[in-house]
């Protein structure tokens, strides 16, 4: 029950309370670039959710087994080379490199796979995939997972389920934000915007107001965690 509670907390936190786009302001480039039409925005949101899940899975695996201080795989290799050494190997300095590397190549791989075996799917959202290889929202999810895996006591370490929950609901939160934004921008086309604000200006203002609306969720996680954990 406590585990389920923590999952709900992570999910709500990633999707609403600490929305990636509107709270942390990561992933702004696709948020502004592809939010012109609702259907395009939804496609982009789905692509981000998809890629972020793959990235979270891979980064969790790499952090847990190779990168974190005392990771089993790197320590095993270390002990093979230096038998009897009691050094705890810490490769967390490689975090950024490995994440970008792994995500970029896995997205390439997925793109090729989808193109070959699911052409309709490729047509509908394949064009977004190269656009979001390692964009900031995705790297942010990986670093957020890293924060809860690397260098924390084993009892508080996130397992794969928690990592994936954060990623998937972070992606859903991104989709929510970008679709809301696209809906507003479609309406905005009919409005008489002052000439100086047309284009990027009014878009950024609208994004700011949307972010302010999401501020209403702030602090909900505190009371929620009280409720869920008793």
């Amino acid at each position: 029950m406590e585990y389920l509670g923590s999952l709900i907390l992570i999910a709500l936190g990633a999707a609403l309370i600490n929305n990636f786009v509107l709270y942390y302001f990561v992933g702004i480039c696709p948020f502004l670039g592809v939010s012109r039409r609702v259907d395009m925005a939804f496609g982009m949101g789905c692509a981000v959710t998809f890629v972020i899940s793959i990235a979270a899975f891979l980064s969790w695996v790499f952090t847990t087994f190779i990168l974190r201080p005392g990771a089993p795989l790197s320590n095993w290799i270390w002990s093979l080379v230096n038998p009897g050494s009691d050094t705890v190997v810490d490769l967390s300095i490689l975090n950024y490199l490995v994440y970008i590397f792994v995500i970029a190549s896995s997205v390439q791989f997925v793109e090729m796979y989808v193109r070959k075996f699911h052409p309709p799917l490729y047509k509908s959202f394949g064009i977004f995939l190269p656009l979001i290889t390692t964009n900031c929202a995705i790297l942010f999810a990986c670093l957020e997972i890293m924060k809860h895996v690397s260098g924390v006591p084993p009892a508080q370490m996130w397992d794969l389920g928690r990592a994936l929950t954060l990623a998937i609901f972070g992606g859903i939160g991104f989709t929510l934000a970008i679709v809301l934004m696209a809906g507003m921008r479609e309406e905005l086309d009919l409005c008489d915007v002052p000439k100086a604000l047309r284009g990027a200006g009014i878009t950024l203002i609208v994004a700011g107001i949307l972010a302010m609306a999401f501020m209403g969720f702030t602090g909900m996680d505190q009371s929620l965690s009280g409720l869920l954990t008793g």
């Binding site: 050094t87 810490d90 300095i93 796979y113 075996f117 009919l190 409005c191």
Partner: protein, 302 residues
């Protein structure tokens, strides 16, 4: 001890790099999708404006349609004849002569020509104004709020004296204005010559109703159709048959003489004669801005 960790870090990256390149290299072969090389060649030929004038999303989609679905090669309005010829050469098909399509505004009524105008204080866009009745008497004519001006990526259309005018030196025929116009008075006409005869009216009402709302609209009097075979009157409006239109032989002088409403006009790039006619008029060296806001001038502008 430090150097040992550096080697371990380097080793991890090296193993990752080799492993990933192997996987991607394998996937590149295993998941290879055959793409017709002609599609890429066709895409190179197309101008890459992605304007959508051909009816496809972008140049890539049109290139695919041309190569794979035997779509007509003459649809690229921006590229015109030269692109069509190159595409035809690539695919080995005969190209019928392709005419560049250019936008034509089928309304010639300036603000002073329109009757029954009323003040409008809503959104200054045609799409909004079109929802309101009674802005002007003519329910077919140009509203002059410039939706087409904003839609044009080439600065080829301007609202002058309350009616949209096209700059044929800049028009590429992408059709964006024709799609955005809420009254559908802009059509794409094949320009078989630099200058084309067009009917500058869209009003389909009977002559009496037209004269009630406009000083220059076509009243469907049939005078032009009687002296010229290319013109037919349909639904009370003159229309020109551009399939039969031969710019070398077409002679509209009789029809122009007959037209009591000046609804037939010649549009297109200015000829040398036209340029010579205005050559002696001095252009101002510098055009001073007119700092008059629309608030100062609240008379109806549509």
């Amino acid at each position: 001890m430090l150097s040992g960790e550096v080697f371990l870090a380097g080793g991890v990256m090296a193993v990752l790099a080799v492993g990933m390149s192997y996987v991607l290299g394998w996937a590149n072969k295993a998941f290879h999708v055959e793409v017709d090389p002609r599609v890429e060649k066709a895409e190179d030929i197309l101008p890459g404006a992605n304007c959508g004038g051909c009816g496809y999303v972008g140049c890539r989609e049109y290139a695919e349609a041309v190569v794979l679905e035997a779509e007509s090669v003459t649809k690229c309005t921006v590229g015109g004849g030269s692109v069509a010829a190159q595409l035809g050469e690539l695919l080995g098909v005969e190209v019928e002569e392709a005419w560049p399509y250019r936008a034509v505004v089928h309304c010639g009524a300036t603000t002073t020509d329109r009757l029954q105008q009323h003040e409008y204080r809503g959104e200054p866009t045609c799409s909004a104004a079109n929802l309101v009745t009674g802005i002007q008497g003519c329910i077919y004519g140009c509203l002059g709020m410039g939706d087409c001006v904003r839609a044009c990526s080439y600065d080829a259309i301007h609202v002058i004296d309350g009616v949209a005018l096209i700059d044929y030196d800049a028009c590429t025929g992408c059709g964006a204005c024709a799609r955005i116009c809420p009254r559908n008075i802009i059509s794409m006409v094949p320009f078989k010559a630099e200058q084309m005869m067009v009917v500058s009216c869209s009003n389909k009402d009977t002559g009496k109703d037209v004269t009630a709302v406009c000083k220059v609209g076509c009243i469907g009097c049939n005078a032009c159709a009687r002296v010229n075979d290319l013109i037919q009157i349909e639904d009370g409006l003159a229309g020109i048959d551009y399939d039969q239109y031969q710019p070398e032989t077409a002679d509209f002088s009789a029809a122009l003489d007959k037209c009591p409403r000046e609804s037939l006009v010649l549009v297109g790039k200015p000829s040398e004669k036209d340029l010579a006619a205005v050559a002696d008029q001095d252009l101002p060296d510098r055009i001073e801005a007119d700092f008059k806001t629309t608030v100062d001038d609240t008379e109806w502008r549509g």
